[in-house]
Amino acid sequence: MKGTKDSLVGELSAIVGSSAVLFQPEDLLAYECDAYTIHRGMPRAVVFPKTTQEVAAVVKHLYGKRIPFLPRGAGTGLSGGAIPLGGEVIISLVRMKKLLHVDVENRIAVVQPGFVNLKLTHSISDKGYYYAPDPSSQYACTIGGNVAENAGGAHCLKYGVTTNHVLGLEVVLPNGEVIELGGAPDMPGYDLLGLMTGSEGTLGIVTKIMVRILKNPEEKQTVLAYFDKVEDASYAVSDIIAAGIVPAALEMMDTVAIEGVECGTYPVGHPPGLQALLLIEVDGIAAGINEQITEIVGVCKRRNVMDVRVAENEEERGRWWANRKTAFAAMGTISPDYLVQDGVIPRSRLPEVLASIRRISETSGLRIANVFHAGDGNLHPLILFDARKPGETDLAVEVGSAVLKVCADVGGTITGEHGVGIEKREEMRYVCTDEEIEAQTRIRTVFNPHNLLNADKLFPKPSRCAEIKIIQSDR
């Protein structure tokens, strides 16, 4: 291949065509990280297959040569799952971006992995349907990536996460073999469909996905409530749930987060000086919505709400959600860098956990913004830092880890929807014993015996360091 001494480039080009292989160092640089930017590594090449057969052929070739590889979608992941550790071939699935089939009567849609999440809802909305999992990155993230990460979103309190909506998968195994999972409900055999979803691209590369689509709810109403005490907002969350209401979404933001979103592209005009706000959405049969909204407003009032409003129209509702959904990145306006964490806690422990996070922030001197799915107990503390200041990146990483320890200690977990990736490998020890980690790596070995596919992600692995891999990939 012209321009490189790496013979692999020519071999891959023979499979997918030369326009579907990137190998120049300058071109590869854009692939050294995903939306988790603290760790970086260079791939050996990036290939862009267009069909399952091409993916299988590329994988088979790499497997034969024992060259490590990993899949990548839009690269919007927040835990580094699509970052090379050094020397892997990236299999980018962004050119497999077709909507293959929609069957509204059976409420299914079949997509290729590179199909963008929000486009599915856009493609079926004229028929009155939508795809429920709605991660904040849904404008850009791919459904293949959602499956790998078992992505959540603001509306999974009522509707569940990706795994509850994946009905079938076509998967290229790490040896290049193509298998089909699911398709009909409760297929006999171990639930590989469930196991594959959320396996962070370490068990196989998904090349086709059958998902459940839902009918749009008859009515949606959204409430915005402002509080001057975080505790009041937290108790309001518990009270709403205790009242027997299952909101479609129940989101919370604290002072720092509100400051960020108000500087961002989609400000709502929240009044200054708030300690917390709740964004609560109820959907379902129109006849039953008002009753629930009245109850929610009542709960908020009993919890000393400063102001509580119901969205007057779709436009207002849209503005509130745009404000919330762009919250992470909007922190770019008040801090050059941020690290987002993803701990989950039992909802009832919210006040004490938020207090602990506040103490960590004060001790470390780093500001922490909290934007989170309060109904699920899924926290997203955003640790604000400036990578240009010496030592601050390391401090941010330490703070992130300390926050996760707090979540684990109250019986929660270290990640609710962003995945472990590279970022939280060590923190897996907060929630898993050695035996439990081994139980999982043994499952990985069944699928991925040579650990070539997205190697060394997801699990702590002290023994093998990066240098060894570099030597292997040196050529």
Binding site: L22, A30, A35, V116, A140, G264, T326, A329, G332
Partner: protein, 450 residues
């Protein structure tokens, strides 16, 4: 290969590529947190799927260059120049990264480090340095080429015989439009008085290509403004806005033109500077950015930029009389990138169209997706521009008879798309429709009456 596992790209040694008079502003790319929300908004990423051909990828490369991890090379230049500068990513970006400005600065860096050579240099020099800055030369070219005579589509229509297929009520529009032969800047050296009571004094930025190829749009703009009580001045010292120069990385010529325009318009001291070409309007508003290191002009640039307003937004904000002439036609509206993404003007032109009696507005899916024109992009990157145009035309509703927009570059590109698809649609400027409706009233109605 270093120990961290990150393979460095040609460790940077040449000081001159770093020490640069217009190095990219670190704070501007520090705001990019690499979240990827911009990816889907980017037409070139959509087409290629390559991350270095995406907004965050390009910003990532700029960071790498600034940090000395990457040299300024053709491999850097390619993604930077493949960018359409359509700014759709700026709309998508939650943290307000000014990708357009960063791209233009990077182009400047590249052209200083890697000057064009051979035929590319000749073409670039001819167009950017010897033609656009000089209205007289452009006029000669315009007349010689006869690309455009009366309305944007006319030449295309005549060539393809489409004009005879156009329904009668659309041919009416051509009939009603006055014949144009002369650029407005030279035609009205002393400006044009308002009809009736003077509400405000405005200056018209006539634009270089606009005034030669689309002078009837300028005429329409003048008629609409004066009819609504705005006195129109035509500062004679004005020149090309310099957008194309800045896009191409020729920031030096861009700055020279900017200073000239600032002088010309601040001397005339109008209440507002009205622009009917979105690309120009965007460039004029960004003079403060272009001249941020110019001690003498920095403040003047801000003063000037504060006066610049797109004609649709100006009419919407400062008032216009609802037209009464009925236009029985179906129209769709295309958001010019530099209007929607560059200036945030989306609602106003649509409201202007809605105010025209009889006009039925048909939504255009992905209306704010770039058409591929992007200044002279369709000349420099015809392959990519063609693919992007094809997508635009796929979305273009067949039932629309008129396609309205606010930028001459888009008008030419979409007219080409219409011709390519063998369609029977007429491309018009939003202001032309307003003017057409006023004309159809048949009599002059003073602004105060309504």
């Amino acid at each position: 290969m270093n120990q961290s596992g990150i393979r460095m790209v040609k460790p940077h040694t040449d000081e001159s590529t770093l020490v640069h008079m217009s190095a990219t502003d670190e704070d501007k790319f520090a705001a990019c947190v690499h979240c990827g929300m911009c990816l889907e908004s980017c037409p070139t990423y959509d087409e290629l799927g390559h991350e270095h051909q995406s907004p965050r990828g390009r910003v990532h490369l700029m960071k790498a260059v600034a940090q000395g991890k990457m040299a300024i090379s053709e491999a850097f230049a390619d993604p930077v120049f493949t960018c359409l500068d359509c700014r759709a990513c700026e709309t998508a970006c939650p943290s307000g990264v000014q990708v357009g400005t960063l791209i233009e600065e990077a182009r400047g860096q590249i052209r200083e480090t890697l000057p064009l050579t051979g035929w590319k240099k000749t073409i670039s020099r001819t167009f950017l340095r010897k033609l656009f800055p000089y209205p007289a030369r452009l006029q000669v070219l315009g007349k010689a080429l006869k690309v455009y005579q009366r309305s944007g589509l006319q030449t295309f229509a005549r060539k393809t015989g489409l004009v005879n297929l156009a329904p009668q009520h659309l041919r009416d529009m051509e009939a009603i439009m006055p014949m144009v032969t002369e650029p407005t800047l030279t035609k009205y050296p002393h400006g044009i008085p308002a009809n009736g009571k003077v509400k405000m004094q405005v200056a018209l930025f006539t634009g270089c290509i606009m005034d030669v190829m689309f002078s009837d749009i300028n005429e329409a703009t003048i008629r609409v403004l004066t009819r609504n009580g705005y006195e129109v001045e035509m500062p004679q010292g004005q020149r090309c806005c310099g957008a194309l120069h800045v896009h191409a990385g020729d920031r030096e010529e861009g700055r020279r033109l900017a200073r000239q325009n600032i002088d010309a318009f601040l001397e005339a001291d109008p209440d507002k500077v009205i622009v009917n070409a979105a690309g120009c309007g965007c460039a004029l508003k960004e003079y403060p950015e272009l001249l941020r290191e110019d001690q003498e002009y920095r403040e003047r640039a801000k003063q000037f930029a504060a006066k610049v307003e797109d004609v649709s937004k100006f009419l919407h904000d400062y008032g216009y009389r609802k037209p009464q002439g009925k236009l029985n036609a179906r129209v769709t509206y295309h958001d010019a990138c530099h209007l929607a993404h560059g200036q945030g003007v989306r609602r106003e032109p649509r409201e202007l169209l809605e105010s025209i009696p009889g006009l039925q507005i048909i939504p255009l899916p992905d209306a704010d997706r770039c058409c591929g024109s992007a200044g002279i992009y369709n000349l420099t990157n015809p392959g990519m521009a063609g693919k992007i145009l094809d997508k635009k035309m796929e979305n273009m509703p067949a039932e629309a008879e008129l396609i309205s927009m606010g930028n001459p570059g888009c008008m030419l590109q979409i007219a080409m798309g219409v011709a390519k698809c063998g369609r029977n649609q007429q491309v018009v400027h939003t202001v032309q429709l307003l003017d057409w409706s006023y004309q159809k009233e048949g009599r002059y109605v003073p602004a105060e009456e309504v």
